[in-house]
Symmetry: C2
Subunit: 540 residues, 2 copies
């Protein structure tokens, strides 16, 4: 049995911005100054200097040079510090770029550890940028031997086994690990295997925050050598914790239930997209339906109700109930409300192109609404939030350049049935970090009425699509499990409906290719994680 | 010195469709039947059964099973054939998927060769799908030893050296190698090194055709053991050639000059996007400017002038000259022409939102035009071709959901200065495969007038952007060479202009993310090849 490390460690679960090297260094140094006196080592996430994931910025020679200058700054700073830092950054030699962890102390680099296991599946493309490291040696640090690993290294036994064979007495893992449902349980499972097999305690530090269509949940944690959880940071929030394996455990924030995590992930994804692109105002086209209502609730929670404007754009087909529901939702969420009728424009358009009918006429209404929103967006400097959920995006049940207009889409990876769950959940409670109102935000009428696009008289979503329960069940099989229509039919679904849904899914790829980004919240998010050709002759 | 192989070989430079396994097998079998009596081996391109590149279709278990069934078909067919085939297809064992070449003869698989070097840079993501093969052994075939390689394998000495050490007497390389300028010279350079170092002749077969935002140029070729070119297929066309290294060389079609290649690449990219998504009609918003004129010329060459409709949508700011130029261009290209004025709709919109001014008013015009085009698209089942060139896409000099509306963009990867070159070039000649008119298509007035968006009185592109010569020179440095603004300034460009262009480039990433696909024609195409984050705090 190894002794328990006596080091004092500080978890720095920060929210860096991709590419903002100066800003990230400022965050790192300011945390360092704050915790320096009470700790031996402050641990920051994977690629903390660049933010995860800088994508093709990594191919720029100048970008890597700027990273090197930033590391020099940290080295200089370290001369005045009592404690050390472990930070993530790219590291290059003459021909290779590595995903690395720098341990910096007392005016010098103590060690540079290269990531061995480079994920190149799902949302990850690390082999596009990095060369895998060779087995990393433990780092001697203050009478301990640190077994430093980078994210994916912890998911396989190879690196940990080697570090353990070289007498490491503490595993430290730095991560850029995005949220998906149940991810934290899987992380802890892998970590527990590493810790218990080697009888070595393990600290895992993850970044938090949104980056384009990914959100990182944080939830940094520590396990003792028996694999017991002794520290866990909050999900979706920055957090710092100082602790020691030998005599002072950390705080264990509980994991949230799935619906709460989804809601918070969506909120943080949007909030950070706004903040990191330096935008504050959001515009939402309100229909009186559940999607725009939930989007308004999330937007209000993300940037504050005072920064959200809901715009109702009624036509001849808009019911009084929809108008009233839209007003009620704006009132309850505390967002601003504006009405811009589209009738005059529809009639003028019909005078210009009198033959517009059927689907063209339905799309026309959606597109005129899109123009109104984009005009308001241009005038007020507000970003339009588009509100198509994953079921709609999957089936192409949305108008390109119409209701698909917008800079971001919080519902993009949320199935319609999940939209209802989230609305009910948010009516019941308000998450800690939410900036929106307390109490019920989405009234009963919106939750209980039948979904309709109101683009022609008496239209119901179910005229074009199967009921959402059935639709989502089929879509989840085809998308999340990558099953064939035959396999879905074997599960008992109606073959005709399965074929229809499968065709819709395939033939709307061209729409999704032009859709707004939105936070990945499932196991298989469109575009970044499910990379399909548009030209696709595959029949299934 | 090895003896010269006496085999008769048939190059099958086909144009498969991604995912269309049945259709591709039909192409393969029909060529096989046609050339069977006169050849020993017909060589098809990399992944010819699936088309290159099937992307995440490869992750579907059912897709790989369907490929296996297709290979069984070929095996059965081979029992009735005199000759053999070499086809590309994925190949799996229990845990891995390989990018493979199958040699099939007389009712059985003679050999399966795995690709060793998997490209995972630029437009390629092969490490997402495939496991690299171990050193492949030569294949015994009709008294010869074939050294089979797959595309990237030929770009490095390792595989060829090993095959040569194992007494291979003929290199056969199957490829899915997309077009970019000067690519063919580089391919031949690598091939020549492999052939001459081993004194082994080499045949390289590439696919041809468009697939989403890539176009494959074909240009299959053969080198004798001295590295001399003895066969070269046409660029951008399907072609079959039967030849033997020992007594009958092939036909050597010359390489085209760069401008012609660019033009043909753009044309084929669009033609195949239309054909493979089963569309025939194209709509273009005409402005009277050079971009829409060149787009109309390429569209007419791609699908025939009778399938192209140019729509002029004049406003108060549209000059008589623009109207006349648009009519002239439609006449010369032989395309249909329609006029839909937008004034009535602009005025009606202003009655609805009277404060619309400045940029919002400019965008409004572009967006009303977008709606008109999309309405016509919905009514007639025609695809809108959007016309923003690479210089505009780089600077965000385009209206999202306005002139950016469209299913495809042939100019997306063509800088403005190249647009002029291509227009001049096409006025001088018509390529062999072009379906458009002979003679001058784009009149002098369009070529010589100053570029303007005509969204406000007396507007010129140069009011917002540097002159295009200067702009393109800066953009090419920043994009194609990945240089920093500092490096561009060191080249003698005005620092203020460089900073402005660099900022425009960075801040318009969100627009490009929602832009239509368009054929890669440069060394660094947006989106697939230049993968930038939208949230990007990097200052350079």
């Amino acid at each position: 049995m190894l002794r328990t490390p006596s080091l004092r460690l500080t978890v720095a679960q920060i929210n860096p911005t991709v590419g903002d090297i100066d800003g990230n260094i400022t965050q790192i140094v300011s945390a360092w100054l704050e915790y320096d006196s009470d700790t031996d080592l402050i641990v920051f996430p994977e690629l903390s200097i660049t933010g995860y994931m800088p994508e093709d910025l990594l191919l720029k020679d100048g970008f890597i040079s700027d990273v090197e200058r930033a590391i020099d700054q940290l080295i200089q700073k370290s001369a005045t510090m009592k404690s050390a830092v472990l930070v993530g950054a790219p590291n290059r030699d003459k021909t290779n770029l590595f995903n690395a962890a720098y341990l910096i102390e007392s005016g010098k680099i103590v060690s540079i550890t290269h990531k061995v296991e480079l994920p190149n599946y799902g949302v990850f493309d690390e082999k596009r940028y990095f060369t895998p490291g060779i087995r990393p040696e433990p780092t001697d640090f203050r009478d301990h031997k640190l077994g430093i690993m980078i994210c994916e290294d912890m998911w396989f036994p190879t690196v940990a086994d080697y570090l353990s064979s070289k007498s490491a007495d503490l595993f430290i893992v730095i991560n850029g690990s995005p949220y998906e449902p149940h991810k934290q349980s899987i992380r802890i499972q892998h970590a527990r295997l590493r810790a218990t097999q080697a009888s070595i305690p393990l600290l895992s530090v993850n970044q938090v925050g949104g980056q384009d269509d990914l959100v990182y949940d944080g939830a940094s944690f520590a396990l003792n050598a028996n694999g017991e959880l002794i520290l866990q940071c909050e999900e979706f929030m920055e957090e710092f914790q100082t602790f020691s394996f030998s005599n002072k455990n950390g705080i264990i924030h509980p994991q949230h239930a799935e619906t709460q995590s989804l809601y918070q992930a969506a909120t943080l994804g949007l909030r950070d997209y706004m903040r990191k692109t330096k935008q504050s105002q959001i515009l939402i086209g309100m229909s009186g339906g559940i999607d725009s209502a939930l989007s308004a609730a999330i937007a209000a929670d993300a940037v504050g109700p005072q920064n959200v404007t809901c715009v109702m754009m009624p036509s001849d087909f808009t019911s009084d109930l929809s108008l009233q529901d839209a007003i009620d939702c704006a009132t309850k969420t505390g967002t601003k409300f504006q009405t811009v009728p589209i009738n005059g424009m529809v009639h003028q358009f019909m005078a210009t192109l009198p033959n517009t009918s059927g689907l063209a006429h339905e799309n026309l209404q959606a597109r005129l609404r899109g123009i109104i929103l984009m005009t308001l967006s241009n005038q007020y400097g507000a970003m339009v939030l588009t509100t198509g959920n994953k079921s709609e995006m999957a089936c192409g049940y949305a108008t390109l350049y119409g209701d698909m207009c917008g800079g971001y889409n919080v519902l993009k990876d949320i199935y319609k049935t999940q939209v209802y769950n989230l609305a009910h959940w948010r009516n019941g409670q308000k998450p800690l970090d939410a900036l929106g109102n307390d109490g019920e935000l989405i009234n009963h009428s919106i939750l209980s009425k039948e979904p309709t696009a109101e683009l022609r008289p008496h239209q119901r979503d179910q005229d074009s699509l199967p009921p959402y329960d059935e639709l989502d069940s089929i879509l989840m099989g085809l998308i999340e499990e990558d099953l064939s229509p035959q396999q879905m039919t074997a599960r008992g679904h109606n073959p005709e409906i399965v074929t229809k849904v499968s065709r819709l899914l395939k033939h709307s790829e061209y729409k999704r290719r032009q859709s707004a980004p939105g936070t990945k919240l499932s196991h298989r998010a469109f575009t970044r994680e499910r990379r399909y050709p548009i030209v696709n002759g595959y029949q299934n």
